[in-house]
């Protein structure tokens, strides 16, 4: 139930302070929940934040502090219920109550930073992430608010009425005892020093404090990994790689999320050093660094800030065991994020060297959408490898793969097989593929395609395809194309006769597009003639061709 509806329907409040408080709390709850639904950059989140900011400013200016009592489903200001939400999953009140918060005071002078921090803490709880370390109370306390105050009790407690007489849970005698050798032997001190007050050097103090800063965490974690691995390497110590398994996974995920690739490389070097006498364990541990989920996390993270895969990531993969090429292709198969796929393609390319034939085989064995990615990679690192499979790709007829093949075709170079394949693509059911094929054939000036391309100028063709036909013909054989275009525009009369009617609109369109890239000045009159007799669209096309031809000539002479 929406608490705003509850407000109106129950008539719980009628004064402005209550209404304004309700606005603030609704905005806070919505903004907190919104991170479950939207990407942080989403405009909806921006709107929620703006609402939160505005509603608080309004409340604080008019009414000062907001002091709330927290009940299971309600937040109460004075005697008024100013927030009511009975759905536990959505309820701001329940989240706080469940963790033990019993009152919350937001001071009039609370800063935007503090309001954001409050929202952050509530959002983290809304996401339902495991919080073995913190709960809402400790998070709120940790935040060190200056203007926000909470009163808390333990969230849920044993029901004392149900205690059993002989339940010995609280019997102190049952506690473990301190071992006799605890912290023994004590360090040996040879002398006594002078205990005097001395001012602390500010710079040294700041340096020491920086070690407790979150920015130091990655370095701290690596040092911890090193200490633990040293214990693993110590035969006399009971620490075994198995004990480190979860920690290493967590550390890997953290470093990846933070894009700390250089530190991941250091971690791998540490593992190689300390586990060198246990090759199987080493391999297994290293293998975990390249698990699909792990690679997906890092590529998703990297693509947000980088256009290309950082070199350290390649260095990292090179240090790890396994068939990275096959694995990266697998990872690519399970990833839909375009940025992440771009990074994966870049990672794949260096591993193709020396395995071109195998890689090209994969193009035919993977899903069509992945095939398109592999074709793009092949275009960069093994373009000639695409020649033998072009025919097969054409026969399969997948649009994404064929479109990608056409993008890469200029890198492949000349090949009769490829030319034949491109020719066959002129019959593809996909317009984008046909247009791409025409362009590719034109760029290769493949004369045998002239007739087939000309045949694509049909009334049912789109203007994009008609354009492509004209341009392709003009590029493949300018002389033959000029004759053909003239015939298409005025099928019944020669240039000098100025007799007869106009050709079909489709062919006229292709002819205009083709003449636009050709140079014979005599055709200006033909285009003028066409413009006078054409409908609106074709008129504009003919005029455009004329303008471009003149501009080109003027540019040449000027």
């Amino acid at each position: 139930m929406d608490s705003r509806i509850a407000w109106h329907s129950t008539g719980l409040m009628s004064e402005n302070p209550g209404k304004d408080a309700n606005d603030v709390l609704l905005a806070l709850a919505r903004a907190g929940r919104s991170f479950l639904l939207y990407d942080p950059g989403n405009e909806a989140i921006r709107a929620f934040l703006e609402d939160y900011q505005d509603s608080w400013a309004r409340y604080a200016k008019a009414h000062g502090d907001l002091d709330l009592t927290v009940r299971p489903f309600e937040l109460v200001r004075g005697d008024e219920v100013v927030y009511l939400e009975r759905d536990r999953e959505r309820s701001l009140a329940f989240k706080m109550f469940r963790d033990g918060v019993r009152s919350l005071s937001i001071g009039q002078h609370t800063t935007w930073d503090e309001l954001l921090r409050l929202l952050e803490i509530l959002s983290i709880r809304f996401t339902g992430i495991r919080q073995q370390e913190d709960d809402l109370v400790t998070l709120l306390w940790k935040a060190g608010f200056k203007h926000i105050d909470i009163h808390a009790v333990e969230g849920f407690i044993p029901d004392e009425e149900e205690d059993e007489e002989d339940d010995d849970d609280d019997d102190d005698d049952d506690h473990l005892e301190v071992p006799a050798d605890q912290d023994r032997p004590f360090p040996v001190f040879a002398s006594r020093g002078e205990v005097v007050y001395r001012d602390i050097d500010l710079e040294a103090q700041v340096t020491a404090l920086s070690e407790a800063d979150s920015r130091h965490l990655a370095e701290d974690s690596l040092r911890l990994a090193e200490l633990l691995l040293q214990l693993v390497a110590d035969e006399d110590d009971a620490m075994r790689p198995l004990h480190l398994q979860f920690f290493l996974d967590e550390l890997r995920d953290f470093l990846m999320a933070e894009e700390q690739i250089g530190r991941l490389v250091r971690l791998v070097k540490m593992l190689q050093l300390h586990l060198r006498h246990e090759p199987h364990l080493l391999e297994e541990t290293l293998h975990r660094l390249t698990e699909t989920e792990a690679l997906l996390r890092i590529t998703r993270s990297i693509q947000k800030n980088h256009a290309a895969a950082p070199p350290e990531l390649l260095e990292l993969l090179n240090m790890l065991p396994g068939d990275h090429l096959a694995h990266l292709i697998d990872v690519l198969s399970s990833e839909r994020n375009q940025g992440s796929r771009r990074i994966l393609r870049q990672l794949i390319e260096p591993f193709v060297v020396g395995r071109e034939a195998w890689f090209i085989d994969q193009v035919l064995s993977v899903k069509p959408e992945v095939a398109a990615d592999l074709i793009r990679s092949a275009g960069h690192c093994a373009p000639r490898g695409l020649v033998p499979i072009a025919g097969e790709l054409v026969a399969r007829g997948d649009e994404a793969a064929l479109t990608e093949l056409l993008w890469q075709v200029d890198r492949i170079g000349s090949s009769p097989d490829l030319d034949a394949a491109l020719l066959a693509l002129l019959s593809s059911p996909y317009e984008a593929v046909r247009v791409g094929a025409m362009t590719a054939l034109a760029n290769r000036a493949y004369e045998p395609a002239f007739g087939a391309i000309a045949a694509r100028s049909e009334p049912s063709s789109s203007t994009a395809e008609l354009e492509a036909v004209g341009v392709a013909l003009a590029l493949i054989d300018p002389v033959e194309a000029t004759f053909l275009f003239r015939k298409w525009i005025r099928p019944g009369g020669g240039l000098m006769g100025l007799l007869g009617g106009k050709g079909g609109d489709a062919q006229c369109w292709s002819a205009a597009a083709g003449l636009e890239v050709l140079d014979d000045p005599k055709d200006d009159a033909l285009l003028e003639w066409l413009a006078k007799r054409a409908g609106k669209g074709l008129y504009a096309r003919a005029r455009k061709a004329l303008v471009r031809r003149r501009q080109r000539r003027e540019g040449r002479h000027g």
């Binding site: 990407d39 942080p40 950059g41 989140i45 934040l49 536990r88 999953e89 469940r98 033990g100 019993r102 954001l116 952050e120 983290i124 996401t127 339902g128 495991r130 919080q131 073995q132 370390e133 109370v137 306390w141 940790k142 009163h151 009790v153 969230g155 205690d163 059993e164 102190d172 049952d174 506690h175 473990l176 301190v178 605890q182 912290d183 360090p187 001190f189 006594r192 020093g193 002078e194 205990v195 005097v196 007050y197 001395r198 602390i200 050097d201 103090q205 020491a208 404090l209 070690e211 407790a212 701290d220 974690s221 040092r223 911890l224 214990l231 009971a238 620490m239 967590e250 995920d253 999320a257």
Partner: protein, 445 residues
């Protein structure tokens, strides 16, 4: 960039960090946790219909095993708590698909045994599961329902399973709850001792109660009360841990650490010696402690620093392998001070403990941190017995109040001018009266 855009980036980044290591975990716990609860409830219900040998148990027992394996793999320990009409699995509330769902009945079935929560600290095979179900199937004994269940479980060899009492949501603080420092220290000590007991029984350490205790300490204020009692090495492990925590917090606070870092430091201090509870023969407690703390799942800044501190709290500042981390260096000072100032073996007064430590600044101890510690505790730290010029003996009871009176603490009277020992020692502020002649022997009083 405008304020709102900046806020979006800040919040997005904070949430991503919070999720680090826990990707998809909440969803997994919701999915498998609910099934786990449903199957467990079904098993308990089945005991009311069939004999335990009945084949009707076969499938749910197998499924329960599969659920417990999956959850244990992710969580390390599974805590199912029924609070009133709700069920939580490791702090995540289960959402039954309908009000009639099997899971909604678990609370009632557990309450038949006066139980509100059940924790699984190990995986279980099918025989274990059948034994557990058998324990719950037995008729509850009036007046000692939970106790009887625990006995049955112990006899059945189910050492990896714990049950707890019925829970209620606490509505407010008790009016008569004692908020004094001593009582607060006692509560923290009890929590620390329970943590030792729990890990000794192969339970995964749970930092949250420690964090609550540290939060209370910091909220209460780190005054000197509770820092001077002469009790030697009292046989309860929590005492040393909590005192070390207070000393570490004093140092950290004097250094200027943030509230968040202080909280993490306090928890690290309470756990620093926990390896003693689980170490093997001839094993170093630092390594044993680290091994234990590694069992807690999830990447967290506090856990990383706690682990480092546990491993490094006996390392010298000048160690050739590199200086220990900040928490380790702080704990080294706090722990050595607590040990030296309290041990009957050394016979050091707090003031002498500090003097000998100062002689090792730069070698054992980080000189900056040690000086910070000295600046807070003073020339005569709480608990130091002093002989005054007029024959009185006093015991210091304050931390440094001002650098100008660094060597003149507030004290309480132990022996008056006539050599009598008053039952309640008057407060004597050496900043205003009394001439210190020297340290008095501890043993004399």
């Amino acid at each position: 960039m405008d304020e709102l855009r900046q806020a979006q980036i800040q919040l997005g980044s904070a949430l991503e960090k919070a999720r680090s290591g826990d990707l998809g975990l909440a969803e997994l716990v919701r999915e498998h946790g609910l099934r786990f609860v449903q199957v467990f409830t079904s098993l308990l219900r089945l005991t009311k219909l069939h004999d335990l040998q009945n084949q009707a148990f076969d499938i749910p027992v197998r499924e329960f095993r599969s659920c417990i394996d999956r959850l244990w793999q992710e969580l390390g320990a599974i805590h199912v708590v029924a609070v009133q009409d709700q069920i939580y699995v490791n702090d995540i509330r289960m959402r039954p698909p309908s009000p009639e769902d099997a899971s909604t009945d678990l609370g009632r079935l557990l309450r038949e045994h006066n139980v509100g929560g059940i924790s699984f600290h190990t995986t279980m095979d099918q025989q274990d599961i059948r034994r557990l179900v058998r324990c719950f199937a037995a008729k509850p004994q009036a007046g000692r329902r939970r106790t009887a269940l625990i006995e049955r479980m112990r006899i059945s060899g189910l050492e990896g399973v714990d049950v707890s009492g019925v829970f209620l949501f606490k509505v407010g603080a008790d009016a008569d709850e004692d908020q004094s420092t001593v009582q607060m220290m006692e509560r923290a000590t009890a929590a620390a001792a329970e943590a030792w007991d729990a890990v000794a029984s192969h339970r995964i350490p749970n930092p949250l109660p420690m964090r609550r205790a540290v939060t209370e300490m910091l909220a209460e204020g780190l005054n000197a009360e509770g820092l001077w009692e002469q009790e030697g090495m009292i046989a309860q492990p929590g005492r040393h841990s909590v005192r070390v925590a207070r000393l570490a917090l004093l140092l950290g606070q004097e250094l200027g650490m943030s509230g968040a870092a202080l909280q993490d430091l306090g928890v690290a201090a309470i756990f620093h010696d926990i390896g003693y509870a689980v170490r093997g023969p001839n094993e170093a407690h630092e390594s044993a402690g680290a091994r234990l703390l590694l069992r807690q799942r999830g990447f967290h800044e506090a856990k990383i620093r706690r682990l480092r501190a546990t491993l490094e709290h006996h390392k010298d500042f000048s160690d050739i392998g590199g200086k220990p981390g900040l928490f380790g260096r702080i704990l080294r000072i706090a722990e050595d001070y607590d040990n030296l100032a309290r041990s009957k073996q050394t016979g050091f007064s707090p003031a002498v403990a500090l003097e000998v430590m100062v002689s090792e600044a730069g070698n054992f101890y980080d000189p900056l941190l040690l000086q910070t510690f000295v600046n807070r505790l003073g020339c005569y730290p709480p608990g130091t017995f002093l002989r005054l010029g007029d024959g009185r003996v006093v015991c210091s009871r304050s931390l440094v109040r001002d650098p100008d009176i660094f060597d003149r603490p507030e004290c309480f009277l132990v022996v008056d001018e006539e050599g009598n020992r008053p039952s309640i020692g008057a407060i004597i502020d050496l900043a205003y009266e009394g001439e210190i002649m020297g340290l008095a022997q501890i043993g004399s009083f």
